[in-house]
C-alpha cells in the first residue's frame, strides 16, 4: 500500500466533497431528528414529545411486521444473488470478443430506471397478457401475483434477482480477472480438483470484492421502494409492504411526521449498524 505522507493541507481537497454531501445530509437529517422528538399540527407550532415517537414505533406491531418482511426479503435475495452471481461469473469466458458482449448485456438491467423495472415486470407477469403469467398458468399452476400473497412475494424476489444479480457478476468477474494465471497453472500441476481450485484460489481472492458486493446489495435491498411499489403497490394486503414503502405511507400518506421521522432514524441506524458490524468483521478477518 502507498505509504502516505502526513499533510493537513489535504483538507482543502476534500472540502468541496464535504460541503456538497453535508449540504444534502446535515440539514435534512436535522429536520428528521427535529420532527422525531416533537409533535405538530401544522402552521409551524411544535410541542416537545421526547422519545414517545421512538417508543411508539419500536413497540408497534406494524413496524415489527414490515421490519421482518424487509429482513426476510433482504436475506432471501442475498442468499440467491451472491452464489448465483459467482456461478455466472465463473462460467463467463475470460478472453476473446464474447467477454464485452456478455458484460454489456448483463449490465443492461442495472441501467433501467427502477420504475420501468417495476412496470416491465408488471406487464411481463400479468396472469393473462404477460408472457411469464401465461407460461406459469399454461403449465397448470394457478399464478396471479396481484391477488396471491405468495406469488406476489416470489415475483418481487425474482424481479430483484433479475435486476441486481448482474452487479454481483460484474464484481466477481473483476475479482477473478485479477488472479494471475500462475495460480491456475500451479493448481493444475498439483492435481487440484475444480472444487479445490475454487475453494483455495478463487474464493480467497474474491473475498474482498464479495465483501463490497454483499455490502452494496444489503444496502440497496434494505432500502428498496420503487420496484415493489410499482409492481404490487405493497399488496396484496401488505405482503410486500417493505420498510421504505411503509415509511412513505406513514410520512406522505397519513402525514403524521413525528412517527415517520422516528421510524426513519431507527431505519437508518439499523442499516448503519449492520454495515459497520459486517465491515469490521471482514476487515478483522482480513488481517488476522
Amino acid at each position: 500500500m502507498i505509504d502516505k505522507i502526513a499533510n493537513q493541507k489535504a483538507w482543502f481537497f476534500i472540502l468541496p466533497v464535504t460541503l456538497l454531501v453535508a449540504f444534502n445530509a446535515i440539514i435534512p437529517l436535522m429536520t428528521v431528528v427535529n420532527y422525531s422528538v416533537q409533535e405538530t399540527f401544522g402552521d409551524n407550532v411544535f410541542f416537545w414529545e421526547g422519545v414517545t415517537w421512538y417508543e411508539q414505533v419500536l413497540t408497534s406491531d406494524r413496524f415489527h411486521a414490515s421490519f421482518l418482511r424487509q429482513l426476510s426479503f433482504t436475506g432471501m435475495i442475498l442468499l440467491i444473488e451472491i452464489p448465483l452471481g459467482i456461478a455466472v461469473a465463473l462460467s463467463m469466458p475470460r478472453k476473446g470478443p464474447w467477454v464485452s458482449v456478455c458484460l454489456v448485456l448483463m449490465a443492461l438491467p442495472l441501467l433501467i430506471p427502477w420504475n420501468v423495472v417495476g412496470s416491465m415486470w408488471n406487464i411481463f407477469a400479468l396472469p393473462d397478457s404477460g408472457l411469464l403469467g401465461r407460461m406459469i398458468n399454461g403449465i397448470g399452476i394457478d399464478y396471479n401475483f396481484t391477488q396471491q400473497p405468495v406469488s406476489a412475494w416470489l415475483t418481487t424476489v425474482v424481479m430483484d434477482v433479475w435486476h441486481w444479480t448482474s452487479l454481483v457478476v460484474l464484481l466477481a468477474y473483476a475479482g477473478l480477472c485479477s488472479i494471475p494465471n500462475a495460480y491456475y497453472q500451479a493448481a493444475k500441476i498439483d492435481g487440484a480438483s475444480n472444487w479445490a481450485v475454487f475453494r483455495y484460489i478463487q474464493l480467497p481472492k474474491l473475498k474482498r470484492v464479495l465483501t463490497i458486493a454483499i455490502l452494496l446489495r444489503f444496502m440497496d435491498s434494505f432500502m428498496i421502494y420503487t420496484e415493489p411499489f410499482v409492481l404490487t403497490g405493497g399488496g396484496p394486503g401488505n405482503t410486500t409492504t417493505f420498510l421504505s414503502i411503509d415509511l412513505v405511507k406513514i410520512a406522505l400518506g397519513q402525514f403524521d411526521l413525528g412517527p415517520a421521522a422516528a421510524m426513519s432514524l431507527i431505519y437508518f441506524l439499523i442499516i448503519l449498524l449492520i454495515c459497520w458490524i459486517f465491515y469490521t468483521l471482514m476487515m478483522r478477518h482480513e488481517n488476522q
Binding site: 494471475p180 500462475a182 497453472q185 500451479a186 493444475k188 500441476i189 487440484a192 480438483s193 483455495y200 480467497p204
Partner: protein
Amino acid sequence: MAKITLDNVKHSYLDKPAGDIEWALKHVDLTWQDGGAYALLGPSGCGKTTMLNLISGLLTPSQGRILFDENDVTALPADERRLAQVFQFPVVYDTMTVFDNLAFPLKNRGASSEQIRERVVEIAHMLELETELDKRASRLTADGKQKISLGRGLVRSDVNVIMFDEPLTVIDPHLKWQLRSKLKELHQQVGVTMIYVTHDQTEALTFADQVAVMLEGEVLQTGTPTELFEKPMHTFVGHFIGSPGMNVLPCKVDNGVPVFADYPVALSNAPGTTNNVVRTEIGVRPEFVSFADEGIPVEIVNVDDVGRYKIVEVQHAQHSIKMILHEGQSPPSDGAKIIFDPAKTYIYTDEHLAA
C-alpha cells in the same frame, strides 16, 4: 524421473510465421539426462520462457516432438506430465497453513494421512521450514513462500522434472545467495531433474551442471560452466558469460596467420578456410590477457579496483581491451605491452568458433 528430449522443436506464437524474427523458438535439438541440474540462460526475449512452457505443457510446439524418456508427451496436458514449477513470484495457497500447502499435492492424489505427515515433515526439515509448519502460508516472507512452492514439487515421488522460472526475482538481494545455495544443496540431496530459467549468469552457472545459452530463439551452446567459460563456441556466449565478458577484436588472416592490428597472434584453434567468410574476429577473456615485456603496445585507459581483482581497460589503435589483475598486482606505469594466452585465445568466423 525421466530423460527429457526436445527433438527438432520449433515454435511461433503466430499461426503463419513469415520471417526469422517471428519464430519465438528456432530449430532446437536438446537432450537432458535424468537427475541433472540444467539452466536456460539468455537475455529477455530470447525464448527461454517459451521453451519452459513447452516442456511444462502450457504451450504445444508448432513443430517437433517432446519426449519424457521414450514416450511422446508433445500433446499431453500439463497436469498429466508429472512435473512441478516454481514461478517468478511466490504462488502459495494463502488461506492454508504451510503444512496443508505441502500436503496439498499428496492429498489430491489420495495418499494416506500418515504417509502425508511423514513425507511433509521430511521435506519441511530439508527446507528448514519445520518450525513454520502450522503458520498460515501468507505470513511467510517471499523466500519462505518460494520454499513452499518448491516443497510442493519435492513431496511428490512421481515428479519427472522441477522447473524454476527466474525464482529469485522478488527475493531480497541480501537473501538471494542463501536461497540459491539452498536450491543447489537440495538438488544434490534429492537428485530430481531441475531446469532453471534466468537472465543472471551467476544463478545459472552456480546452480546448473549444464547451461544452455540462448539468443533470439536459438540455443547457441550447451555445456558445463567450465566449457562455457574456457571455450565459448560463439562470440555472444563469450560476451554473455563472465563479468566483464570476452574481448572480441577484429582480425585479418594473412596466408594462414591471424593478425590483430598488424601483430601476429598465436591461437589454440586454426583459422581454417577463410573464403566466403564475412567477419573474422579473435576472442580472449580478460582473465587470459596479461602484461609482458614483449607484446602489443597499449595505453592504459582506466583501472577499476573491485577488491578481489582489478579490471584494467587498455587501448590499441582505438580497440579497447579489458584485462583482469588479481589482488596485489598492478599495471606497469608506462610502455605497457600485453600478450594473449595462446591456449585460451580463439578465432571466430562469422561469430562461430572456427572449425
